[in-house]
């Protein structure tokens, strides 16, 4: 992914661009999103620029040196005060420089290994083992992207959907699951992460060990303790920590369906992933009432809908081909 960031900068730098594209580039560059990645790409640009040597100093540089020395002389006249604060200033600057030195270790290899894409279609689940031994169980309609080999400073994967990770221990190479403005960093631990593109909330549940969750365009972070669930609402930007029943939270891995005070709309979103049917309904058919249901593994959609219709008391349904129609009673 660093590819995208490097490539954008490379393209911008090497050619003339129209003013509107230039503005577009600037908006992107100073934007908060992916600031870490952009920073890395910028530093790469800096790193690749040649340093000068005395032998090949251009007259332009000589002229600049002349100008700078002149400015320095002008400043020194009557600026004793400046030198009094000198140590304070330089201490602060030193700190910044040290931090950036720590932040960008000198090995500049940003390896762009080939990514492997694993997609789980509707109504299926998949288990897979990543190259580092981490075990992943993926829920339906989920995409996971991971490199053929984890070579960088961290083990990064990209998740769109829901998956459970049993991370192989390697404290030198943290394991990072990234998603849209949300990421979870772990050393050796087990956690469940849910980040479907269409959902308004994202969540992560820690089963054992400890993880760091970053959200709000990666600007905020907190550490989860075992059995804590972190939920983040993309729209309201609200975050909550709860202690859900771990059995329920990971029930999907056993094929079970568990809904805890969930609205019919949210239930249908989950059913659409779990069963290969699309749901057809008018929004006003579904009331905002909350329901709690638990369905065993291999329950058919018909059985599920029978119960939901019965309990809700205000809808009926009809399954035709690959469509499930929900109608008012």
């Amino acid at each position: 992914m660093e590819n995208y960031f490097n490539k954008i900068i490379e393209l911008f730098v090497k050619s003339d661009v129209s003013t509107s594209s230039q503005d577009e580039f600037y908006r992107w560059l100073i934007g908060e999103k992916f600031s870490v990645e952009k920073e890395k790409a910028l530093y790469g640009l800096w790193d690749n620029l040649k340093e000068g040597t005395p032998a090949e100093t251009s007259t332009q540089t000589q002229q600049s040196l002349h100008d700078v020395l002149k400015k320095i002389k002008q400043r020194q006249r009557g600026t004793n005060v400046r030198f009094l604060r000198f140590w304070q200033v330089s201490a602060a600057v030193l700190l910044i420089a040290l931090l950036s030195a720590l932040y960008f270790p000198s090995n500049k290899t940003l390896v762009n290994a080939d990514l492997i894409e694993q997609y789980v279609p509707v109504a299926e689940m998949t288990r897979l083992t990543l190259p580092d031994g981490t075990e992943v169980q993926m829920n339906s309609t989920t995409t996971l992207l991971y490199p053929e080999q984890f070579t960088g400073e961290s083990r990064s994967v990209y998740l769109l959907g829901e998956a459970n990770f049993k991370v192989a221990k390697n404290e030198k190479q943290p394991f990072i699951v990234k998603s849209n403005d949300f990421q979870v960093t772990a050393l050796g631990t087990e956690f469940n992460m849910k980040a479907y593109p269409g959902d308004s909330t994202l969540s992560a549940i820690l089963l054992s060990g400890s993880v760091e969750v970053r959200f709000n365009n990666l600007a905020s972070a907190l550490i989860l303790k075992p059995s804590e669930q972190f939920t983040y609402n993309r729209q309201t930007k609200e975050e909550t920590i709860s202690h859900p029943d771990l059995y329920d939270a990971t029930a999907w891995q056993k094929g079970e369906l568990v809904f805890k005070s969930t609205s019919l709309r949210e239930i249908i979103t989950v059913l659409e992933r779990k069963y290969p049917y699309s749901f057809v309904y008018a929004l006003n058919t579904l009331k905002d009432d909350k329901y709690t249901f638990r369905f065993k593994d291999k329950t058919s959609l018909q059985e599920v809908m029978d119960i939901i219709a019965e309990v809700s008391g205000h809808i009926r349904y009809r399954i035709e081909d690959d469509k499930c129609y929900i109608l008012p009673l």
Partner: protein, 178 residues
């Protein structure tokens, strides 16, 4: 430290790093003059900070400084208020490039920008044809007629653009309908 050796040491650092700092600012700001101003300001300040004049430290310090200066200049350019909803942004990436990638969701801004910048690299005629096809939704026949070219040539140009874009979006999967 005596003044003469102080100055000589400063000059060495200047010669080693000044071009790097100036070039970094120049290629991002696309202005030699602004870049020269920034670089000079940074080195005037550096004169007063001899405890930074050391290999790696000075490199990282200069990077931090030049980056901050560049960002400040960019922020002053008031780009936000100039925001125009360009026709590019009104089209989804998918309809323009026939490009499908699960990361679209995450990197949509990056991909848009990449597309935009790479279209600017194209020869004028080719870009014109591609934009007519994707933004004005003209058929290949209509484009051929307007530009007085053969349909075959139009197709070839569009094919070549898609091929270039494909190379660019390394991890992308393309569905080229030809």
């Amino acid at each position: 430290m005596n003044t003469e050796s102080y100055r000589r040491e400063f000059e060495e650092i200047f010669i080693q790093y000044f071009p790097k700092v100036r070039t970094f600012a120049a290629i991002l700001l696309k202005s030699e003059q602004e870049a020269e101003d920034i670089a000079q300001d940074i080195f005037v300040k550096l004169w007063e900070q001899p405890d930074l004049w050391e290999g790696n430290l000075v490199r990282n310090y200069l990077y931090t400084m030049v980056k901050n200066h560049v960002f400040n200049r960019i922020k002053r350019k008031n780009i936000e208020s100039k925001y125009i909803n360009s026709r590019m942004n009104r089209h989804s990436l998918e309809e323009i490039t026939e490009f499908k990638d699960p990361l679209n969701e995450i990197y949509v801004q990056e991909l848009q920008l990449l597309l935009r910048l790479s279209l600017e690299q194209l020869p004028d005629k080719r870009r014109q044809i591609f934009e007519m096809s994707r933004f004005e939704n003209l058929s290949n026949n209509e484009i051929a007629e307007r530009l007085n070219l053969s349909v075959r040539t139009v197709e070839q140009h569009i094919y070549l653009v898609l091929k270039d874009l494909k190379k660019l979006f390394l991890i992308a999967i393309f569905f080229i309908k030809f």
